[in-house]
Each structure stands twice: as structure tokens, then as C-alpha cells.
Point group: C2
Chain length 452, copies 2
Amino acid sequence: MKANIPNRIILPEEKTPTQWYNLRADMPEKPPALLNPGTGEPLKVEELFPIFCEELARQELNNTDAWIDIPGEVLDYYKTFRPSPLHRAYRLEEELGTPARIYFKFEGNNTSGSHKLNSAIAQAYYAKAQGLRGLTTETGAGQWGTALAMACAHFKLPLTVYMVKGSYNQKPYRRSIIHTFGAEIIPSPSDTTNAGRAILAQMPGTTGSLGCAISEAVEKAVTNEGFRYVLGSVLNQVLLHQSVIGLESKAALELYDEYPDLVIGCAGGGSNLGGLIAPFMQDKLQGRANPRILAVEPASCPSLTRGKYVYDFCDTAKVTPLAKMYTLGSGFIPGANHAGGLRYHGMSPMLSKLYHDGYMEAVSYEQTTVFGAAAEFSKVEGILPAPESAHAIRAAIDEALKCKETGEAKTILFGLTGTGYFDMTAYEQYLNGTMSDVIPTDAQLEASEPQS
Amino acid sequence: MKANIPNRIILPEEKTPTQWYNLRADMPEKPPALLNPGTGEPLKVEELFPIFCEELARQELNNTDAWIDIPGEVLDYYKTFRPSPLHRAYRLEEELGTPARIYFKFEGNNTSGSHKLNSAIAQAYYAKAQGLRGLTTETGAGQWGTALAMACAHFKLPLTVYMVKGSYNQKPYRRSIIHTFGAEIIPSPSDTTNAGRAILAQMPGTTGSLGCAISEAVEKAVTNEGFRYVLGSVLNQVLLHQSVIGLESKAALELYDEYPDLVIGCAGGGSNLGGLIAPFMQDKLQGRANPRILAVEPASCPSLTRGKYVYDFCDTAKVTPLAKMYTLGSGFIPGANHAGGLRYHGMSPMLSKLYHDGYMEAVSYEQTTVFGAAAEFSKVEGILPAPESAHAIRAAIDEALKCKETGEAKTILFGLTGTGYFDMTAYEQYLNGTMSDVIPTDAQLEASEPQS
């Protein structure tokens, strides 16, 4: 029965999702509320309006509606690159000699090169619908900045992107592609904001961090009439939009009577992971199935595996609300030789709660072993993965090798979030043997500990 | 009836081609034969065996079989990235305010980033099937080298790629991706071959050319036991494999009762153009339809629009057979500031014949206007085109604007051959206003004239 599964499954149009799935509605215990840092009180939706689009603010705090209609204009845009393909990794299975059946959901087949476009187009749509004049954001490795620049070009919305300085210098092509889509791009920390100037005064040579770039982007939004800030991960609204990944994956597997024993996603702020696992976690919460859910993070920025579950700021300058999450401290900056994204100090509050409550596992990997998996995967599967995505590949390979030992024919699903075309410098370092691993010491983690 | 055409048409599996279409079989006058440069006599298939795989040599000279089965292993691989989507460019139409209906066939949705993979996987398959030890090739902008490296990784075949030195230095990421797929990559001209050493002695500072890299790759193949040479364009066999582009395009348009009034493709050696137009040219040759067919080439390397239709060598060192084609002379090297591919001195003999016999038109564009079209297209359609592909976009936009003037609702189909992720340096030059145009003078063309 399972012999005729193609190696690339494209979901038929009538099966593609027209609603996003809001997992929080089905969580027996909700993630703790965001807190106003001044009062320590739970944030009211109106308090978010100066920062976020109103509809996005409402989505952020919506713990009750399980299904939210995808607006027509967003659906139309989705149709230019979705449904994304679900691949059966026959060649990888053969190469590993594993009885496991390995599937991956490939989100790299759009110009932004990653899953980030799923939320970018939604956020740009709501901004346009509200009549805003423009948006600000930050980007680390550049995937989010590229996706949002594309989305804003589509709706003809001005955009300013603060790009973590280390990436800005390492990835000139990322800058150029964001520039091509018409966005302004500024290396962070910069002298264009108070937050940036303060950080530069304190650490003149810093290569920046996501937390710092967030501070700058938020400041720029709240000090410019008609501008709002948007974010590509961590937030509930983002995980909501990314649920299309999981919904499509589940529907595509159902076509072939498959269900994953194990769902694996890379985890930085949690946008891909939260989206991929959403419908499977629903099954788990409602007792219909019990798949293992595995988050994979870099050893250089191990928020789930070495962070603390406490209230912390989402940014470095401490201007954002407080979120209860696994965090390394808002001052944490991963080592400069860490390649790729997944460099945020915290983790999605929703995923943090699920992890804390035992619904999810987490593991961390050093980057050389991750790039080893990426290089192997590219040769056998013919897709060049982003370093971020390669974390999930590494874990999937290791789990498939365990199946080889035990003889279990498990079904493994992982998220292949994007392509590595802009990460060739890091690939070259790996191939030449000049890549090294960066693992923060306990002392370093203590020094950046959350202060709340 | 035509209102419900989606903006991305994916051909259903049962409609995807299982045979390639060999246009030569239906040409009333065949392209003149390849000649042995020593004897001046038409080449026999056995004479090609030392250079090419035997099956590919047979395909090269096959002027009689219109349909050739795609081998099962190639079909399996095609399924990992084909059918490629056919897009309706609604947003571009709206932006231009044209009554034209614009479609484009997008071949960039695979890791190699272009249509080149269609032939690469076929050529690697035949090499493997013949039990060869390895392959050699050349690459200009890097698309073919990337595609062949992927294909050879799939079949675990060693590969040496001679990359035009100018591109090798301009595009370090291209090198790295080819390296990641396990191929050896050498900047050409190099000191690894007699041909390379001779050219280096004559022009020590040269940035190289495709013709020169071909000489090196052929020499490397014929001097190494069990190796053969493969080529990504120009040859009949390549156009045969690329016919999947046109076959899929035509089948996808038929689903919506559409037929192009105009088919536009960029033209370097002719691989994409020949593949895209194949079934439409068949209709034209057989009197079933009369679409305009338009080749678009760079003003910096204008083989069709300014070359001569004569017998010429396919390479610089004059070791290859002689082909009758539109050519600028095998010694022609496009200006160093020419961005992207489409830099071959000649044109596919089959397309040359069709152009010479009046079945096809040609136009050339300067690169700044091409990049202008690319930047505009990327913003409205959300796909970042390769500079090569952008030549077709430029022509499609201009034709759509003519429709706006005349009020004609023509159906335009163009080939979007690939993505521009590795061409961001050129995009940045365009955006910063530092890109210039390079048009060879008449004196330059005369100096490189074919000598036969």
C-alpha cells in the first residue's frame, strides 16, 4: 500500500488550508501572559497597538479561536508558492540503510528561500489593510528580512530592516536582495536609534544580536507616525501563520495513509517549529495520537536545553513586553563564528510552555556536525539546505540511524525550512576544515542571565 | 472561461511528458551536418564516441526519431523537481496596464537554480549506464556546472568542471556550491591542459571564455581513460532533453484552453530557447499554428543578430567538430563587465537553421535595460530572475507594452530559466548605477570572425 508514495508530494488545491490553526486554543494550560514591563501587569491588547498592527495584536493575544480565516489576498499570494512540496527522502533512507521512512516539508521553493514568507505576507497584508505608512523589522541571517522585503514590495509598503551587523558583513548578497526588493537596510547596532547608540557606546566592536536589532526596529517604529514593527518569529501571531506548514504536511501525509512517529524542527525563535508541529501537537493534546516532537537548536545558542524558564525581555534594550520563555538572557550574544540564524536568546512562549509541560523534547548540536549533515543531504537529496534547516536534518539522520539499530520502521517528518545559497561562505569553511564550534561556557551563560 | 486561471499552474502527474521531443525529425530541411575538422567530411557517430557517451552521440546525430523515451531513472529524478510551474503573471500585467496575458515557465525551482538540470541528469545517467569513470565539462555563469555537479553526485560520478575565470572570481558562491556537491572545479584558462597553457601564453590576463573552457574540458576528457565530455547547451542532444520545458508549458496552457501568440526565450547557446519552443515550432512547421518565436540575446554577445551563418569551431582551441551556426568567431570573448551567462560565441546549429530559414526572430538588449526589467519583475512577481532569464523578461515586457498601445490581448509565453541568487553583485551594480553596457564594435567582431 505504501509502495507508490512519490518522492515529491504536491497537495491538490482542494486540500490546501484556507484557515490557520491557533494551537493555543487547544492547550489545556495557556502560555503565561505577556507583561507590561512598567506595571508588571498582563498586557491589554490596546497596549500593543502602538507597536503592532491592530489585527496582529489581536491575534497575538487570542487564546480562544482555534481556526482563523486566511484573508483572500494572502491566500492568493500563497498560491504563488504554496502548497510547498512534501518530499519522501528515499535516497537518504537508502544511503543510511535505515528502515525509517523519512519525509521532509520543503519551504525553500520561493524567492525568499525560506518559510518566513508565510508570515511576512500576512503581516504586510494586515499593515496595508490598516492603512499604515510603513514597517520596520530586524533580521539575523537575512531570511526574514528578505521575505518581508518581498511582501512589502507586493503591497508597495516602505520597509526599514535592521540587520545584525555580523550577518550584514558576512552576507553582502542578502543585503543586495533585500535592497533589490526596495527596502532600506541598516546594519545593527547603528547610530540611527537611541538603543543602537547606547549599545555602540558600550560595545563599539560588537557584531550585534537579534535582541539589539529588535530594540532598534521597535524604536524606529514607535517614533515614526504611521509605522509599526513586525517580527518574524517568537510571537504567537507568527506561529499562527506558520501553521500552514504543519497543516499541509499532515494533509499530504494523509493522502498516503501516513502519520509521523516523530516530528523534528529546527528551533531559533520557534516560527518553523511551532508551525510544523501545530496539528500534530493538537492530536497529542487531544489524545488522538502521540508523536514525539523534537526541537533542534544550535549548541551556540541553546535556549531550550540550557536556558531558564522565566520572564525576560524580548530585546536587548528592554523596551519590549516581558515574556515567560526559555531564555539565555536578553543580553546574550552567540559567538561570532556561529554560522546562520537560530541566534535568538529566547524561545517562543507557546513552545516554551509546551516544552516545560513535557509535550516536547529538545536537543542541541554543534555546527560542524550540522554542516556535515547538510553536505551529505545535499549530495543525496539534491537540495542545498540552509544551516538552520540542517539542524533538523542532523537530528533526523541520527534518529533514522537509531531505527537502523533497532530495526524499527518509524515515520519521521522534519521541516526543511530553507535553502543555503547565501551561506556558501560557511559551507566553504566547513569543506576546508576551518569551521569551529562555539559553545558558551556556564560562566558566559550566567553573565547574561535573565534579570527578572 | 479564462477567468479562473490560477497564477501558478502545476501540471497533473498524468499529463507530464514521458518522452522528449526531437524537433529535427520534423524539420523539412535538417541542420547541416557536423564536419570532421581534419577531413571536412560529415561526422560519423563512431567519431563522436571518444568525446561523448555513445547514447548521447546517437542522440546528437538522430534526425529521424521525433519522440525518444525518457529513461526511468531520469523520470524518477525529474519527479523531484518537475513538472516546473507555469505562472500567469497577473501582477506584471496589472503593473504594465497591458491587455496581454503573460505566462512564464519557471525553471528556477531546483537547487541548481536553472533549467540546466533537465539535461544534466540525462547526460549523467547515460554516462553511468555506459560504465564511464567520470565526466568533464565547462561552465560560464555557473548554472550548468552546478546542475551537472548535482547530477553527478546523484549517480556518484566524478566530475571536473572548468569554470570561465571571470565568473570563477566574480562568483565564489557558485564555486562553493559546485564544490559542496563534490566536483573538482578549475578556473579556465588553466595550466592543467595544453589548450589552457597555450591561451595563457597568448593572453596571460584573460578572464577566459566558454570556448576556451570547452577546449580544456574536451582535452581533459579525451586524455583520461574512461572519461567523456558533456556540454550544457548548443548541442542537439541538450535541446532534445530541454524539450520537457516546452512540452510541459504547452500541456499546462492547454488545460486552460490557451495557446501563445508569441513565445520568447533568452538565447546563449540555445538550450532553454530550443527546449521551450520545440512543440510550438512543431505546430508552426506542420501548419497547425503560427506563433511568433523570439530569441533574446545580450548586445554584448549577439551571435544571431550580428554573427554570420557559417561553419565554425565550437571552441577556442579548434579541437571540436565544425558546426554550421550563427557565430561571432570561436575567438570571440564578450566584454569583461558583461554580467551573467549567454556568453557563447555561437548558437545551436538547429536554432541557427530555423532562424536562417525565417521561422524565428531575434533581438538583442543591453544589460542595464535587462537588469531594469529584472528588478521590476522581482518586485511585482516575487521571483528574483537570473540575468540570463531577464533578457526574456525585458522582451516580454516590451511586447506587452506594444499590446497596450494596440489594444491587442495577445497571449505571451516566456521562459524564466532560473534564479539570480548568485548574481547579486551585478544586481548591486545595477542598483548603484555603476553597471555599464558592453557592445562589441564592428571592428572587434571582424577581428574575431570565423575563419572557415
